[in-house]
Symmetry: C2
Subunit: 305 residues, 2 copies
């Protein structure tokens, strides 16, 4: 498997302290099997593999013998998703990962009010950690996949999860940009900008702990001091954002697809907000992305994010 120099930092952090266990629903595809096998071999996690016993045995015989991987038998992907949620609720796993199950099916199991993993008042949000070769450090961003169009309450939750994620990567005072297409507050056309003003105010009042939150800023003024200066913008982020929060899913997804396709970025991603971090990679993600996503989820879980 190819490795990514900067994302290896996730692995190091994930390995520190006690070893966690991931419940993997329906690991029928190669990239899930290989990613989990690698994570187990490298001492990041132990795993409960739910379904697809034959394939699991082929890939990780030794880890099964060592007791680091256990098997649970189920009949279908949907049953596997249910079972994975149940295993987490019982406290037997501290992470949940999906294999070849559609994300909808997994989220339905997670969101179930009686048997699921989302506590009242919480929201789910998707966070990516990107190694973009043309940026000088890792960049977290979201939401590219789960939360379509957040209101103020949801944005605040998103900001808190983003800060948790950054801190779990060792960033003590995360710099978070609230992204918009311009730097102007415009209540009439862009209500998100009004939410941003409120969140910046709360951050300044210390409500979210040590952090620097600014916005509205665009992607460029968030991540490039020169661009901010040229535009006459004096932001405390100083073009050095650790994280970008997008106004809605379309712009987040556009960013994600663009950095991976055109800027050679490698990504790890995780869904936060449920009782445990979820690894909900998509069909298109390769082994490396899934591997680092497991590591990212471990970091988040250890931080209590």
């Amino acid at each position: 498997m190819k490795t990514d120099k900067r994302l290896e930092m996730l692995v190091e952090r994930a390995r520190a302290g006690r070893r966690l266990k991931v419940a993997v629903a329906w690991p029928a595809d190669k990239s899930t099997l290989n990613a989990v096998a690698q994570a187990v071999d490298n001492g990041i996690i132990d795993a409960i593999m739910i379904g697809c016993a034959d394939k699991v045995k082929e890939t990780m015989q030794k880890a099964i013998e060592d007791g680091r991987v256990t098997l649970l038998d189920v009949e279908s992907p949907a049953e596997a998703a249910q079972k994975a949620v149940e295993v987490v609720r019982q406290g037997d796993a501290q992470l949940l990962m999906k294999g070849l199950v559609s994300t909808d099916v997994v989220l339905r199991a997670v969101l179930n009010k009686e048997t699921g993993l989302l506590d009242p008042g919480n929201v789910l949000t998707h966070i990516s950690i990107g190694d973009i070769p043309t940026y000088n450090k890792l960049l977290c961003f979201g939401d590219v996949a789960v939360m379509p169009s957040p209101n103020l309450t949801q944005r605040e939750a998103q900001l808190r999860y983003m800060l948790d994620m950054c801190r779990s990567l060792g960033i003590e005072e995360p710099r978070v940009s609230l992204v918009h297409c311009s730097e102007h507050v415009d209540a009439r056309h862009f209500p998100c900008t009004v939410d941003y003003v409120e969140l910046v105010k709360r951050a300044k009042e210390g409500e979210f702990g040590p952090c620097i939150v600014d916005g509205p800023l665009d992607v460029k003024t968030s991540c490039c001091l020169e661009a901010a200066v040229t535009k006459g913008i004096d932001s405390p982020l100083q073009g050095q954002a650790d994280a970008l929060i997008f106004p809605e899913i379309e712009s987040g997804n556009s960013f994600y697809k663009t950095v991976t396709l055109f800027a050679g970025a490698t990504i790890a991603c995780v869904v936060l907000g449920a009782r445990v971090p979820l690894v909900v990679s998509s069909r298109g993600d390769d082994e490396m992305t899934k591997y680092y996503s497991i590591a990212a989820a471990c970091c988040a879980a250890k931080k209590g994010a």
Copy 2:
């Protein structure tokens, strides 16, 4: 001035046929002055420079003597914008470019119902032409700056302008992707996807001439055949989009800022929909972007776009 290999194609096409004239409002900044000087020297355009006579004389003495650049005296940036619009209405210029005037001021002059340049029923849309080194050809996209959240009628206008732009670059059957964060039609959460279905239908019926229009597709499945195949998507675009139309300004702007900041893209851009193409570069744009934007606007004007 640095040149861009692929965008030089715009210059070649702009130079073909009769020479057009650009009305430049308040050319007080170096990058505007240099870009226009270069465009005049290279035989792309003639120019009417409105305001800032001293600076213009310093930069393009020879072109003034040759009669290729003329001067008009005004007192302020706002007056320059007004005057530029007037010059175009009188038929003395076939392009309008802004110098150091705020875009709002220029657009106000253009949008004025009695004295402006927007005919009833038309809409303004911003189109960029990007040379992204990691893509195999030029890629047009929009709207990143002018149209916040189009309805179906505005989307159709946008599609027509985009097709005009592509054809003015010599693409006979443009491949246009209607971008969304996924490939599913979802009327409840994403009304744009319903508009997309309608536009794809009209395109298939031949309403827009020779073209291939598809969507909803994300940025990756639009521009990478492998990504489409992995996701099980069989799109007639075959991962070879010539143009991307974004659902709203946030995602368009996110794409624009991301390819320029992280993927080394060089951009030309133009606003279409008024009686003549507008060059409305932003303060942050360099000489090269402004130069190629003049060339792009010439191409569009010659095509009657």
